[in-house]
């Protein structure tokens, strides 16, 4: 014979109501395992920023925000361009100019000027043909350049074949070369 259904339900309910017996050492074991796990890397704000940079983000822009972003980028580009305003447009084509000086007794001559940062090591002149003739060739874009010859590491000479640069400040003579053709 089968038991009545009510008795069966009553028996199951009694069984489920009984308190579950758990090993008293379980809490300690669980906490020990957690402590043994490696701690997540923190790294402070920099680590947080690094994780933020590596996480993918979804951007939603309004047209106005997009315009603001474009304007900010344009401002950055403009600033960087203003930072390096040369004497002439960098797109302008450079032409080679030969500088010549007759100096029979010189042993070393450097050409220095606005085109080589006034660096006496950058453009040494070379004897050509005659022993007295020193030359150097420099590519120049349109603009106005001050320059001079630095003879034997001690003497400044202006170019006798070029206009003199008026200079109330530095005293040592220099010359001027103007290369035409620069656009406005």
């Amino acid at each position: 014979m089968f038991e009545p259904v009510d008795d069966v339900i009553e028996r199951i309910a009694r069984h489920l109501r009984r308190p579950v017996q758990i090993d008293p050492a379980l809490d300690r074991r669980v906490m020990r395992e957690i402590t043994a796990l490696p701690a997540p890397a923190r790294g402070g704000p920099l680590g947080e920023a690094w994780r933020w940079l590596r996480r993918p983000h979804q951007l939603t822009l309004t047209p106005l925000s997009g315009l603001a972003a474009a304007a900010a980028l344009a401002a950055v580009v403009l600033l960087s361009r203003l930072d390096s305003t040369p004497s002439a447009s960098p797109q302008a084509e450079a032409r080679a100019f030969q500088f010549v000086l007759v100096a029979p007794r010189a042993t070393h001559i450097a050409l220095v000027g606005d085109f080589n940062d006034w660096d006496a090591t950058r453009t040494p002149m070379h004897r050509t043909g005659s022993e007295a003739l020193w030359t150097a060739v420099v590519p120049l874009v349109p603009g106005r350049y001050h320059y001079a010859f630095f003879v034997d590491g001690s003497r400044w000479l202006a170019d006798p074949s070029a206009p003199v640069a008026r200079d109330e400040d530095y005293g040592a003579p220099s010359s001027v070369l103007t290369v035409g053709g620069g656009g406005s």
């Binding site: 983000h57 951007l59 939603t60 206009p163 003199v164």
Partner: protein, 210 residues
């Protein structure tokens, strides 16, 4: 949507703008040839010129010239400050569309004694770049030509003369001065000769009539 925008786009834009400003304000490494005090003074002048949208390269070169010629820091700073002021005056006279080369030549002309009005008149008279006329004006004054004579001659030629014509004009004046002619008279004579040549060239370029 707005929090996402605030959290992601705005910090990115701020970083870009700050990076751009920092790069723009970085001191030019070439100025390391100057002593610390002079470098600071020149860097401040260069920054100021950059903010005023003036070309900064002529200022850097002026400072480097002084360093190579072993000028004192005070003299270098004074020279750079003076050039920055002249570049500003040249821009005022030539207009905001003037190229860096024109401003540099304009500053030289002003330093030589030309008035800002002359620069403005040159701008109005000539469509081509003004670098060469301004440079010739400054060079003539440096050769001893009175500034009024030099300005009048250059103004008369500027409208139609090519750069090469202006260079030839300057050479003729310098040659005559070297041969003993008074500078003003040499300038007037060379200007007349150059004007004849320029006009002849202009006539040759006109299309012939049937």
């Amino acid at each position: 949507m707005r929090p996402a925008l605030t959290r992601t786009l705005l910090p990115l834009l701020a970083a870009i703008v700050v990076a751009g400003r920092t790069a723009a304000q970085q001191t030019d490494p070439r100025l390391e040839r100057l002593d610390a005090a002079t470098r600071a003074a020149v860097a401040a002048l260069v920054d100021s010129a950059r903010r005023a949208l003036l070309p900064t390269e002529p200022l850097v070169q002026r400072a480097l010239e002084g360093a190579t010629k072993r000028a004192s820091g005070e003299v270098i700073a004074t020279a750079v400050r003076r050039l920055a002021a002249d570049l500003g005056k040249a821009r005022d006279a030539l207009g905001s569309t003037a190229s860096p080369a024109e401003l540099n030549a304009g500053a030289a002309a002003l330093r030589a004694g030309a008035s800002p009005t002359i620069l403005t008149q040159l701008r109005q008279a000539r469509r081509e770049p003004l670098t060469m006329p301004l440079a010739v004006l400054a060079d003539l004054v440096a050769s001893g030509v009175p500034v009024d004579s030099a300005a009048a001659a250059v103004l008369a030629l500027a409208a139609r003369a090519r750069d090469a014509d202006l260079v030839e004009f300057r050479r003729a004046v310098e040659r005559d001065i070297a041969l003993g002619a008074p500078p003003a008279a040499a300038t007037a004579a060379a200007a007349t000769a150059a004007d004849v040549l320029v006009n002849a060239g202009a006539r040759q370029q006109r299309p012939g009539r049937p």
